[in-house]
Each structure stands twice: as C-alpha cells, then as structure tokens.
Amino acid sequence: MSKAPDLRVMLGPIELRHPVIDASGTFDVLEATARYERDFLTDFPFAAYVPKTVTREPRPGNPPPRVAETPSGMINAIGLANPGVAAALADLPRLAPLRAPVIVSVGGTTVEDYVAVVDAYEAALAAAAAGAAPNVVGYELNVSCPNVRSGCLSIGTDAHETEQLVAAVRPRTRRFLVTKLTPNVTDVVAIGRAALAAGSDGLSLINTLKAMVLDPATLTPLLGNRTGGLCGPAIKPLALRMVSELAEALDAPIIGMGGVISGRDVLEFIACGATAVAVGAANFTAIDAPDRIVAELRAEMRQRGLAKLSEVRGRALDRRPPAVTGS
C-alpha cells in the first residue's frame, strides 16, 4: 500500500491543507457553531473560509420566496442580504479562533463600494491586536451575483468594467486578490483576462446561472425576485467547461466551483485546471458534507495511486497550463 496521498495545494502564496473551500454564502461558521454541538471554528472542515459577501451598507436582500429545489439543483435569489461592512468587522474578533485562512468576499454596485469595503477591512486588520482577528489572506471580488438589480453582475459581464474595478482595488491591499466570474457571459476568458491584466492574482468561477422557476399552480415566477441563480449538480458540466477554458487560455490560480457534491467532483475540477475547489449547494444537503467530500477525495486519490493533486491537474485540458500552483 502506498503512503497517504498529499492533499495540500498552493493557491498562489496561500498553502491550503486540502483543495476544498466553501463557496461564499453557503456556510456561516458562526451560525453553524451557534447551533451545532460541533465547534466549527476549531474543527473547521474547509481549507479556507470564504464568508458571505460583504457590502458597504447593510442590504435586506430580496423578497421571499428566495430558494427552491430544481431537478438536480436549486435556485436562489438572496440578493446579497448582509448587515454591511461595519457589522462584519464587529464580528472579526469572533472569527479569531478560526483554524483556517479567510478570503473575504466583497460585493457592491459601484467601484467605490468595493474599494470602501476593502479599505475598511485593511484598516480594521491593521488596528487589530494580535489574536483579535482571523488570518485574512485575501479578497474575492464578487462581480457575478445575478440577483441584485444594479452593479455587481453588470460589472462582471463587461471586461472593461471588470478591469476598472480590479485596477481600483488592487492598490488598496497587498493581500491575494481573486475575481469571481459569472457564467452569464459569451466569453468568460475575456473577462478573466481583463481581471488578471488589472492585477487580480486569481480567478474563481462559476457563480450561479441566471434562471427562473414557476409556481406550478399559478404559472408565475416562484421567487420573489422573479429570477434567481441556478446551482447544484445540474450546472457542473457547464462549470467544468468554463474552468477548463480559463485554464487553457490564462496563467493564474483558479478556484473552480459549480455543483460539487463528491470527492470525484473535486478531482474533475482539478483535472480541468483548478487549484482549489469550492463547495456550495452541497453544504445545504448535510452539515458534514465537506468532511465527506474531503474523505472521498482522499480515497479517490489512493484508489488511483495519486500521491499529489498536481499529478492530475490539467489532465482534461487541451494544453497543460504552466505549473503555477505548486504542490
């Protein structure tokens, strides 16, 4: 029997103990720890924590209903409901015990909104006493939420606007900068290229697909927002295609996501060029889903005789990308 497989990956300069992280907005470590016997802060299942998207001002979110199950997936239109950056910063000390690096997800409707949130975090982190804040290693710029009426998605569907946003945020922080891309575009590579040109260190994709479900009784839109974002296993093949297109064309670490519910799914995203892989809707299927997924990944690697994930990274691509991700 070969020795235990090594699941570690390097996401740019960030060492992750395994490739599985959470997709923003699908797992709240403080809420989960408040309700469950398990202390998720000290027994954290993911290799990094991406909290729910933070905006400059509080947002109440969209009218209900906000979620519904669909064949092999679900649709949601939360609308970036969050208490705003001031409240998020007030919670930072509560996240201090977290045994994982944090990548802060930032949203907004204007370039100034994104800059204000990043500035507020930088100031708070610089002022925080040792041990009074979690290990914030980076930011994820959410330019891909399909459920807010202005900004956000309209930035992420336009290469020029994406480039301007990233260029404005880049000088405000030395931390790792990820741009989260939307699948609701004709050419995802053009948007990703613009983000990297403006200084984004990495890319994450896919956010949800803009979609609609009807109330079968009334034949009118079920969600209060009329449309929502589709996620879950139904979108995985599309996500794999988009991740591979980016990996073939661009040289940057990628966080792949979209319908990951098993260890094999994680391996498939890595074969398509991803360095890390985010779990979203699966977090709703069971509170311990990430533990199962990581255990399955380890078992898959052992079964396939893989010592390291770099052995499969890019295997599904037309051309293998340069070794940007270590491990």
């Binding site: 907005g25 699908t26 797992f27 709240d28 809420e31 989960a32 408040a34 309700r35 469950y36 016997e37 398990r38 729910k52 109440p60 979110g61 009218p63 209900p64 209903p65 906000r66 979620v67 519904a68 199950e69 064949p71 092999s72 997936g73 679900m74 949601n76 939360i78 409901a81 879950g232 296993p233 809707a281 977090n283 709703f284 299927t285 069971a286 509170i287 311990d288």
Partner: protein
C-alpha cells in the same frame, strides 16, 4: 402555578447534531403520515416548536426538508408529513426499518415561561408542532385548548393522531366538526384574558389569527414555515417580513411573536 421551563427561560438549549435514525413506525391519516424514528439524543434535546432538517432517502432530491417535531415519547421522535411535492411524498412513503438522516433539533421553539392558559390554533399541516407543545404545557399544569381547521373530513382524519383533552375541529366543507374556518371556531370557543395563543398554519390563517388576537389584546406566538435550504442560518433563504425587517425562519424562528409578522 409553576411556570413551564422552555427556551425562553434561562436554561441553555441543547445543540443540534446529525442523527442517523431508524424508522420505528409509520401511520397514515388521509394525506398525512406520522413517521416515528428512534433517536434518543434527539429526543432528549428537542423542545416544542423546534424542527429538524431531514434528508429525503432518494438521491434525486438535493435539499433536506424542514419538519416540525410532532411528539417526543421516551427515545422516539415523531414527525408529521404532508405529501405536497415529490420530496415530501417520498418521505410519507417511508417504511419501518428505513434509516433517515436527521439534523437537529434546530430553531428557537415556543417561549413557554409565564404561560398559564393556552389556546393552540392549527390549520392543515400547521398542526404539526402542537402535540409536543400540548404535552409540555399539560405536564406543567397549564390549561390547554386546541382548535384545528382542515379542508375536509379526509384531512381531518389527522385529528386522530392527537391526544389533547380539549380539541375542537372545523372543516371548510363541514364534513367533520364545525363548518367554517378555524377562526370561526376560535370565535365560538373564545379566550379568557390571560390566554396565550400558539398558532401554526397557512399565511391566510395566521393573518386572521393575528387580527383576531389584536382585537382582543391577546398575546401569541406563531410558528412559521418557509422554503428553506440550509436550516442553519447560513443562506438567508427562508426569510419572512417582520416589523423589524426580514427574519430567518430557521434562525430567529420558526416561532415569532404573532404581532411582529407582516402580512400584506
């Protein structure tokens, strides 16, 4: 009279976990099923008004279904399920011996401190949390009256699953109990000044109960249901409008003060 211990009193609420539970019995009442599982830890932790997230034992269904806790007896916990969609229909088809994955108990539960007289009002599947509540109240010596409304006699067969001494029934078509809505029924029963209302049912019923209670200056609590994804407070998918903005049914609820819920 002693107050009833509950989540509103100072005693700390037991926390949730993932439980693998064997189905001990399934009883059918018209379109409803009572599914009883063996879950000693869950039974010990649960408070009236709390809920669980239960996995549909079929990989076609992604999301768990939120279910109120209907009753707790020794090591057994019972859930009441109505076959409404494909997922809940599958759950009503559960058989004794099946294993179900149950996450819970979750949510806040009914505040019971200071309750001396209670009127329980349920409509349709909304009666689900009221047996557990009635048991806890009766054990503390609280006077309990229940008023249930159903569409018709077929739905009203569910009343046979209940053990509440003063239980009154109404059906919309008059095929069982009194003809009319549950509001007509509580109007006939009436409520003394210090009565606390506990209501669960469709929005239209809760809105009517809210008006009825306000007119009589009666205090009350409503247990709500919503389309839910995580059940843990993470996703903000299950909100309802209240006088203090959107509240998450899974986290701030499922029980909210009756007068704070906003109905259009």
């Amino acid at each position: 009279m002693a107050d009833v211990a509950g989540p509103a009193s100072a005693h700390p609420q037991a926390k949730a976990a993932v439980h693998s539970c064997r189905v001990a019995a399934v009883r059918h009442y018209g379109p409803f099923a009572c599914v009883t599982v063996v879950g000693p830890q869950l039974a010990a932790a649960a408070e009236p008004g709390q809920f669980v997230m239960i996995q549909v034992p079929d990989s076609r269904f992604l999301l768990r279904r939120p279910l109120s806790i209907f009753a707790v007896r020794d090591d057994e916990v019972t859930f009441l399920i109505e076959a409404r969609g494909a997922g809940s229909a599958r759950l009503t088809g559960t058989r004794a011996g099946d294993i179900l994955s149950v996450q819970g108990p979750l949510g806040n539960g009914f505040p019971l401190a200071g309750v001396r007289r209670a009127l329980l009002i349920g409509g349709g599947i909304g009666v689900a949390p009221l047996q557990f509540l009635a048991d806890r109240l009766a054990a503390a010596g609280v006077g309990v009256t229940a008023a249930f409304g159903f569409r018709d006699a077929r739905q009203a067969r569910l009343a046979a699953a209940f053990h509440i001494e003063h239980l009154w029934l109404a059906t919309e078509d008059g095929s069982a109990g009194r003809r009319g809505t549950v509001i007509d029924l509580v109007g006939a029963i009436g409520a003394a000044k210090n009565t606390v209302l506990f209501a669960c049912g469709p929005d239209a019923m809760l809105a009517a109960v809210q008006r009825w209670a306000a007119e009589r200056s009666l205090r009350g609590h409503a247990s709500l249901e919503a389309h839910m994804a995580c059940g843990t407070g993470s996703c903000h998918g299950c909100v309802v409008p209240t006088t203090s903005g959107y509240q998450r049914v899974c986290a701030e609820g499922p029980v909210l003060p009756l007068q704070e819920i906003v109905y259009e």
